[in-house]
Every structure is written in structure tokens, then in C-alpha cells.
């Protein structure tokens, strides 16, 4: 029968002052199956642990209960001690007689009685513990990074530079993401393209990185260390390997008046196009919906122009490939909120009411105005520019509840850039608060106000309307408690950052959680901010929550570090607290399959000797199972059980209470 060692810790006076440990030792010594029962001042100390180890060896113990502090405190300590003494580390239970007994009670007699019961029931549990071995899962040491913005690029580069293969998937024709659209970046005002482009080039040229642009992740199956990812390479109609990027086709394309997505509609592009001049890869793509040939069945001017045979191929089809990876970094970024919900601001109605991102394009040297800040309506320099912050953020009624985090900073930046380009210009910023927490951030906003003359008005704008060629911005200065009206030439809305429109659907497809908005859920907001609840899938950048470039890059590197940690070994060791199915009694109702939050339960064929499928039963993939036990509770026939918390263990624990 079982030989259990019970070790009662005094924790100095922490336990001993409220629990009569002598009494506890006497009671437990008399309990069936308890081979040895000792008390000691600090069992977590070296000599304490030595005592435990010696007892395990001398008495050939089959299980150990340490009656001490919370298992959340010292379970690992004593597991290690058990292992060192040759006892399987999972043959240990901690009876929590400190946090949940001595510290919370003031009647010593009752506390002692409770401590005895707690310990006794865990003795009964530990008798039924099974020797467990950490689960070994092979790891495919190749990572998938979804999204080729700065987050994805940074994560890919970090992983690749550490010597691991990366597949970087971007659904647009070029990597670069939103950062490539920006002019200068706060708080240093260095040019976004100047710092980003080298990274983009580094990524595409990196021997360990395979960049798949104009591609989308269709499906993810598998589990940590062993994902199979199905990627759709969308038909580009241009053979990227043959194309030299000369741009002749773009020049000749008859369709030239297509609003450029990259320029936020402030500039045009052709039907065959590269999104922007520094695109990586700098190879064009045909916009099927706008192409004359695809619309009318004739044209093909680009093909005729192209000097390379079969480079432009109108018959190209989407192709699919399956990629084996061990880890996935999700860096799918964000979109800006559709500002049309704010009809009172006149966006879409007045050409000179623009979004912050459009302002970026105006301010960008590579933008439609070559960096000059000009009114979209008439190309004139605006004399007065009004910036409206929180045009969507922190507005539960029309916009989003959260703070988009970057708007205070970029609005200050915009005011600054405007001031730098129009020395006499007047900028007025309507704001709720100025949130400028970050290295150099507050200094930056102060500079905008003090050096670049940005006028900050605390208050919300109620209406923007046109009058005499001016945009009248009507609001309230809540500090003065007075209504304000500003006659502006241009109004810039600091729109909210929102998840990608398909974020929720995407999250379901790859099996990660998301919040009410569609931002992806981290495993723990504070302690596991870059992991998802699905082991092996990590997050970085604005797909998790709005964030600026420094935070994005930091998080990208953090996720890369997580991936590299995972890739540091060929085998992955996991806690063996996983479920397992008794095949003979499983009726195959699939309740467990449906209940499992991790898709860890599969249907498995049971075949007879001739290979004929005679029934299907549930089967747990230990690589995916996280050990919550929801399936166990569902199963009516008790055909599934959870190691470490088996039905037998819990039954014994309860029946000994």
C-alpha cells in the first residue's frame, strides 16, 4: 500500500503560532498509509528539503504531502526536492495550512482541526496520484509571422537573426504596413520611410526570411511546435520572379485615375501598380477589379509593354501552399475608424476635413503634395488648421470606448510639422486630455505648444460647417466654460485605431481569443502580454491593442524572444496535466470536442483487424490540451479524465473531508 510522508512546516511562527503542529503530526501519524510524519521550522530551507529527501529515500515513500504554504508558493520547490530524491515530482501535494489556515484564523483549536482535515484529505489524494512525465512535443523550428508591418518585420528579423527560419505573410502587395504611410515619427521627428525602408529591405533579403506578399493565411491546424498553415498566394498576374520592377507597365496602363489606398485617396494609382515607390517587393500587381482587360476582355497594354516574356500572365490563379511551422506571431495591425459616423464633422462632405492619416500623406515628402501641406480642395496652403482629438476614441456613444493611445502624440506632431512648414500658420487643437506618457513624449507636446505655437483648446467640437469658404469649427472651451468658434482652412480628425475589419473572423480561423472590439486577447494582460491562450501563438503590435511604434517594436521583439525560447529546444516539455480518453467506453457524442476551448480533442477512428472503421472515439491531443478539465466534467460516462486531477483523486479528497 501507499507509503506517504507528511511534512508539517512551522513556517517560523507563521503556521506554528496558530496551528498546533504537534497535534497535526500526531493525527496524521495515525492516518492509514502515512509512513512518516515530521515537523520542522522551515521545510523550504535547504535542511528542510534535505529532511524530505532523506525521508523519501529511507522510507521508500510513494507520495509526499507538505503541509505548509500555498502550492502557488512552493510546489515547484518541493517537486524538485522529490525528483532529486528519486520520487516522481507529481507524487507531491501541498496542504495549504498557511494562507488558507493559520493566517486567516484566530482560534487555534479550530485552525488545528481544519489543518488536520486539509492535510488528511490531501494524503488521500496523493495516494492516488499517478507518476507523470512532462509531455514532450517535437518542435518545428520555423516561425510564421502574419502581417508585414513594422511589428511583423521586427519580429521576423529578430527570429531570423537568431538563426531560425521565418515565413512572413502579408496580404497587401508590399510589406511596410501603416508605418510606411507616415511622414515623420514622434517624438524624434525622424522620417518614417527613412527608418523603415532599410528594415523592409533587410527582411526581404534575409536568408532566413521568406516573404509572401499578397498572400493570406487561410487555415491553421495543429498545436504548439507543430502547426500546419495553409496560405493562399493571391494571383498577382505578374510573375514576381521574372519582373525586374522597371515600371514601364505602370506608365502605360490606361487606368490611371484610381484612388490610391496608400495615399488615403489623396492621390491616384493605375490598375497595374505598386502601392508606393519604396514597396518591397517593388513589383507591380494587377488590380483585377479595375483592370480594363478583366473588365472588358481587351487591353493587355501592360503585357505588350512588358519586355519579359510571360511576366504578365492574365491566367494566373490563386495558389495554395501548406507550411509547417512551430510558432506563429500574429502582427496583423489595425485600421482607422470610419469617420463617417461623425457626420457633424463633415468628413466626406468637406474635402478639407481629413483624417490624421491623410495629413501624414500630405506631410510626407513622398506623398501626393511632395510634403507640402496643401488643402485637398484647392491646393492652397491652409492658414488655420484645426485638429480634433478623440474623433472616435473614448466615445462610447459613436466611437470606441478605449483610448487609441497615439492620437495625442501624432496630433502634436502634426501641429509641429505644420508649424515647421507654414511658419505663420495657426493651429488649434481640441482635446480632452493630453496623454503623453512615454520617453520624451511630454517634452514633445510641450515643444509643440511652447515652441511651435500649437493652440490647445480643451473641449469637444460639436460641429464643423462651411461658411464663406471657411470651415467653422464650433466647440466649447471647457476650461473657460465658453463656446468657441474657429474659422479654419483645414480640419484634421484624430480618428480612432480599430482592429482590422476581419479580425474576429481571422481570430476564429486561427484559434485565438479576441475582445469585444476584435483586438486579440493576450494570455494575461500583465504577465503574459505577448502570448495568446493558444500555446505557440504570439501577438505583437496594434492587433492586440492600440499602440505606438516604440511599443510595437518592443512587443515584436518580445514575441520573437518567446518564439526563440520555444525554439531553443528540439522537444518541448509541457506540464503533464492533460486529459486522456478511455476509448472502450467513449460513445462518441463529441460533447467534449465541442466544449474544449482549445480544439484539443479530435475524433479518432477505431478499426477492426481488417481496417474497417468500427467506431469513432474522442482523442486528446496532449500538445494542445491545456488541462482545464471542462471535457471531463462534460463526459457523462466518465470516459475522459484529467491527469493530476483525476476523478479518483478528487473523489478521495472529498470523501476524506
Amino acid at each position: 500500500m501507499a507509503k506517504i510522508g507528511v511534512f508539517v512546516c512551522h513556517c517560523g511562527e507563521n503556521i506554528a503560532s496558530m496551528v498546533d503542529t504537534g497535534n497535526l503530526v500526531r493525527s496524521l501519524s495515525d492516518h492509514p498509509g502515512v509512513e512518516v510524519c515530521n515537523e520542522y521550522k522551515y521545510f523550504c530551507s535547504d535542511p528542510g528539503q534535505e529532511t524530505v529527501k532523506r525521508a523519501i529515500r529511507e522510507h521508500n515513500l510513494t507520495g509526499v504531502v507538505v503541509a505548509a504554504c500555498s502550492p502557488r508558493m512552493h510546489e515547484q520547490t518541493f517537486r524538485k526536492a522529490c525528483a532529486e530524491a528519486g520520487l516522481n515530482p507529481y507524487m507531491l501535494e501541498l496542504a495549504n495550512i498557511r494562507e488558507q489556515c493559520s493566517w486567516v484564523h484566530s482560534n487555534k483549536e479550530q485552525a488545528t482541526g481544519k489543518a488536520i482535515e486539509i492535510t488528511r484529505s490531501l494524503v488521500e489524494k496523493v495516494k492516488r496520484n499517478n507518476e507523470l512525465k512532462p509531455i514532450s512535443v517535437p518542435v518545428t523550428r520555423r516561425a510564421l509571422v502574419i502581417g508585414g508591418g513594422i511589428a511583423g518585420i521586427q519580429a521576423a528579423l529578430d527570429i531570423a537573426s537568431a538563426g531560425r527560419e521565418v515565413v512572413l505573410v502579408e496580404r497587401e502587395p508590399s510589406i511596410g504596413g501603416h508605418m510606411s504611410q507616415l511622414s515623420e515619427t514622434f517624438p524624434t521627428l525622424d522620417c518614417s520611410q527613412c527608418i523603415l525602408t532599410p528594415r523592409m529591405v533587410e527582411a526581404i533579403q534575409h536568408p532566413n526570411i521568406r516573404v509572401l506578399t499578397y498572400s493570406e493565411v487561410e487555415e491553421v491546424v495543429g498545436y504548439i511546435g507543430n502547426f500546419t498553415v495553409k496560405v493562399r498566394n493571391k494571383a498577382r498576374y505578374v510573375d514576381i520572379d521574372k519582373c525586374t520592377g522597371c515600371g514601364d507597365c505602370i506608365q502605360k496602363c490606361p487606368q490611371k485615375k484610381i484612388p490610391s489606398e496608400f495615399e488615403c485617396g489623396l492621390g491616384n494609382r493605375s490598375a497595374i501598380y505598386t502601392p508606393f515607390a519604396q514597396a518591397v517587393p517593388n513589383k507591380p500587381v494587377i488590380d483585377r477589379n479595375r483592370c480594363t482587360y478583366f473588365k472588358n476582355g481587351k487591353c493587355k497594354i501592360c503585357q505588350k509593354t512588358c519586355q519579359i516574356e510571360h511576366c504578365i500572365d492574365f491566367d494566373m490563379q490563386d495558389t495554395y501552399e501548406e507550411i509547417e511551422v512551430g510558432a506563429i506571431v500574429v502582427a496583423t495591425g489595425f485600421q482607422i475608424q470610419d469617420t463617417s459616423v461623425y457626420g457633424e464633422y463633415g468628413y466626406g462632405k468637406y474635402k478639407d476635413v481629413i483624417t490624421g492619416l491623410q495629413f501624414e500623406r500630405l506631410a510626407s515628402a513622398s506623398g501626393p503634395t511632395a510634403g507640402k501641406i496643401l488643402r485637398p480642395s484647392d491646393g492652397k496652403e491652409p492658414e488655420t488648421v484645426v485638429f480634433i482629438q478623440c474623433a472616435g476614441s473614448r466615445d462610447p456613444s459613436k466611437g470606441v470606448k478605449y483610448c487609441s493611445k497615439i492620437c495625442c502624440m501624432y496630433t502634436a506632431k502634426h501641429a509641429m510639422l505644420y508649424a515647421h512648414k507654414h511658419h505663420h500658420g495657426n493651429s488649434q487643437i481640441f482635446y480632452m486630455d493630453i496623454r503623453a506618457a512615454g520617453k520624451g513624449y511630454d517634452e514633445f507636446t510641450r515643444r509643440a505648444i511652447e515652441e511651435d505655437g500649437a493652440g490647445y483648446v480643451r473641449g469637444r467640437v460639436s460641429k464643423v460647417f462651411q461658411e464663406n469658404g471657411k470651415l467653422i469649427v464650433r466647440g466649447v472651451d471647457t476650461l473657460l466654460g465658453k463656446p468657441v468658434e474657429v474659422a479654419a482652412d483645414m480640419v484634421v480628425l484624430a480618428t480612432a485605431m480599430v482592429p482590422q475589419p476581419d479580425a474576429k473572423e481571422f481570430a476564429k480561423r486561427i484559434g485565438i481569443g479576441y475582445d469585444e472590439y476584435g483586438f486579440f486577447n493576450e494570455a494575461h494582460l500583465k504577465l503574459r502580454p505577448v502570448e495568446t491562450a493558444t500555446a505557440g501563438i504570439y501577438l505583437c503590435g496594434a492587433c492586440q491593442s492600440p499602440k505606438d511604434i516604440p511599443d510595437t517594436v518592443a512587443q515584436a521583439s518580445a514575441s520573437a524572444a518567446k518564439v526563440l525560447g520555444l525554439f531553443s529546444r528540439e522537444q518541448l516539455e509541457r506540464e503533464p496535466v492533460v486529459a486522456a480518453v478511455t476509448e472502450s467506453t467513449c460513445a462518441g457524442c463529441w460533447g467534449c470536442v465541442m466544449a474544449c476551448p482549445y480544439n484539443a480533442i479530435e475524433k479518432q477512428d477505431i478499426k477492426d483487424r481488417n481496417g474497417k472503421v468500427i467506431k469513432q472515439v474522442a482523442s486528446v491531443n496532449p500538445g494542445l490540451c491545456q488541462g482545464c478539465g471542462t471535457c471531463v466534467t462534460f463526459c457523462r460516462s466518465n470516459s475522459i479524465d484529467l491527469a493530476g486531477f483525476t476523478e479518483k483523486q478528487i473523489f478521495a479528497e472529498v470523501m476524506a473531508l
Binding site: 495515525d30 492516518h31 492509514p32 498509509g33 502515512v34 488521500e124 472502450s584 478521495a652 470523501m655 476524506a656
Partner: protein, 337 residues
């Protein structure tokens, strides 16, 4: 001289018997179920039931019987044998079929190893049977060579008077005689007519059935598969049977204290004969139904010279799918031969 027990004297008898240390059991319909329960007075009894749902067998071989109480401590295991109490009982208003069931089971519980639980209660009980003046579509005592007035298993036989006022008392055993001698002051000696017995038709020829069952080729007959098709494998026919006696032994309790009990079990249950290896000699419902019929009308007779059926008809009466011994045996008697 025939003695008469008038209904209005029954209470006096009950008092006398109770004062003599007997507990008096009689059919009682309570919560939609008739069973033999202890009564204090005649009005507690439901003597007009053709048959209570539960048999008198339950009082001798209860559905769950504590046998050994155990207490495990570090030093030792303490056990205590639990036995039926010494109380004597009068089982009043038993039907002839139920009474016969007791006698049918006696040899089983007594062959070499004597089941003391059964016999202690048997020895402490007096079976006072009332002949049947009514029957229903399911009664089949006459088919198994018993009758509404068969005395098998009874210590006393009461015959209802045609005026409905009481019963004519016929003592069968010494034990029965002693019981009624003790209440002789409450009995009358008048002459009275007894009511007509129930007419229970013979529903099958049991001889033919026994002959067919004894034929070795019958065991593998397709007949079993066809007849058992609608059996759903519940144990209600076995648990309500006055002669079924299969049981299980189970330990139940918490970690260190518990009771080893003898619980009813049923040959209808799929797990009944299941080996731990997974092999199950009777792995289909038809093989289990065959076992039940064979056991009652072939094996049991081979061992103890009597069929293990007293014709109460409960198996059919309570069957959720309208099966039962009658239908099966009728079908057997109708088999071409």
C-alpha cells in the same frame, strides 16, 4: 371445524401478534406503489390489491442488504457482521404465488452453504396467504402448476368469505397453527361460504415448454433472437419477480468506513456476466433473455426439481415493452414440433 377470521377482528389479532413480539407485514399501497410494509392496524392494509407491485420476497432478500461493516484504521481493520434483527414477523395477505416463490428459493439459498440472511428471516416469519378471488390478464399461476389456492410456501391459508366479512382459516404448518392458536379467541367457528376462486386460464403448456428447453438444439435456436428483439435490458422483470435471486456484492462507504452489501442484480443487465477482460459470455439481450427463461424452466428444475416461476405475471404486468415470461412460453408452446 373451520375457523373464521372476521375482518373486524383483524385488529385484535394484529394487537395480539404485536404484543407477542411479531411485526405484522401486509400489502400497503403508498405513493403509487404496493409493497409489504409493517402495519399497525387492519386499515393500513391494502388487501384488495390483486398483487402489490413488490413481492414478499423483498422482505427476505432485500434489495440492499448490509452484511459487514468495516472500519479501517492504521493499526487494523475492524469488522462487524450485520445480521437481520431477531424480530419475528407475520406476513399477512400474501398471495399464493408470492408465497410459493419463497419456497421455490429455499433450496437455492440452502444448498450446502446456507445463506443465513435468508433463513433467519424465513425461520422468523409466518406466511399468512389469502387465496385469490380476482385475477388479471397477467396472472398465470395455473400455467406453472400452481393455483389461486396453492398452499406452497404458506403457513396459513385464508379463504375470503363470499359475504366479504372475513376469511376462513386453514392452517398448513405447525408454525401457522401456533400463530392462529394464539388468536383463537378472536376467531369464530361459524359456518360460512367461501368466495369463488379467481379463474386463471392456463396460458401455455409448461410441459411442452420444459421439453423444448431441455432439447440441446433449442439453445442455439433463432427463436431467442426474434423473441428478445424488443427487450430493452432493464431489470424490472427480475427485480419484481418473486423468485429471482441474483445479487451482487459491493463495498460502499467513504475512505475508511463502509459496509459490504449484498445488492440485487439482474441477468438482464449487460454487465452482469462481463469479465474484466471485456469478454462477455452473454453479450446480447437475446442471450440474456434465454438465460432467464432457461434458468427458470430448465436449469433450476435440474438442480432443485422445481421451476423458478410461481406465475405471478409481474414480469409482463410491469414490462415497459410488454414482454414477459407468458408471451415467451406461449410462443415456445406454439413452436412447430
Amino acid at each position: 371445524m373451520t375457523r373464521i377470521l372476521l375482518k373486524n377482528k383483524l385488529d385484535d389479532c394484529i394487537v395480539t401478534w404485536r404484543n407477542a413480539g411479531y411485526s405484522v407485514l401486509a400489502p400497503v399501497k403508498r405513493n403509487e406503489m404496493g409493497s409489504f410494509s409493517e402495519v399497525q392496524k387492519a386499515s393500513d392494509m391494502s388487501l384488495d390489491l390483486i398483487l402489490p407491485e413488490r413481492t414478499i420476497k423483498d422482505r427476505f432478500f432485500p434489495q440492499t442488504e448490509p452484511m459487514i461493516r468495516y472500519k479501517i484504521s492504521k493499526q487494523q481493520i475492524d469488522t462487524e457482521t450485520m445480521t437481520p434483527p431477531d424480530t419475528k414477523s407475520v406476513c399477512f395477505g400474501v398471495r399464493p404465488c408470492d408465497a410459493a416463490g419463497l419456497e421455490i428459493d429455499d433450496p437455492l439459498f440452502g444448498w450446502d452453504y446456507k445463506d443465513q440472511y435468508w433463513f433467519k428471516r424465513r425461520n422468523n416469519s409466518v406466511i399468512v396467504t389469502i387465496t385469490c378471488t380476482a385475477s388479471d390478464d397477467f396472472c398465470m399461476c395455473t400455467s406453472v402448476k400452481l393455483s389461486p389456492e396453492s398452499t406452497k410456501g404458506s403457513d396459513v391459508m385464508l379463504r375470503p368469505l363470499s359475504n366479504g366479512n372475513g376469511w376462513q382459516v386453514e392452517t398448513i404448518t405447525e408454525r401457522g397453527k401456533a400463530l392462529f392458536d394464539s388468536v383463537s379467541v378472536h376467531l369464530s367457528d361459524e359456518k360460512a361460504e367461501t368466495a369463488a376462486l379467481a379463474q386463471v386460464p392456463v396460458r401455455f403448456n409448461v410441459e411442452q415448454v420444459m421439453e423444448w428447453l431441455a432439447n440441446p438444439t433449442s439453445f442455439e435456436s433463432q427463436f431467442w433472437k426474434d423473441i428478445a428483439l424488443r427487450c430493452i435490458g432493464c431489470g424490472s422483470c427480475t427485480f419484481l419477480c418473486p423468485t429471482c435471486h441474483c445479487f451482487d456484492i459491493q463495498d460502499e462507504g467513504d475512505t475508511y468506513n463502509g459496509i459490504r452489501r449484498k445488492n440485487w442484480d439482474s441477468c438482464s443487465f449487460a454487465n452482469f456476466t462481463m469479465h474484466t477482460s471485456g469478454h462477455n459470455p452473454r453479450n446480447t439481450q437475446s442471450t440474456r433473455w434465454r438465460q432467464r427463461i432457461m434458468h427458470k424452466f430448465n436449469y433450476y428444475r435440474g438442480k432443485f426439481g422445481v421451476n423458478s416461476c410461481s406465475g405471478c405475471g409481474r414480469c409482463t404486468r410491469q414490462c415497459p415493452v410488454d414482454m414477459g415470461i407468458t408471451e415467451t412460453l406461449q410462443a415456445i408452446s406454439n413452436l412447430p414440433r
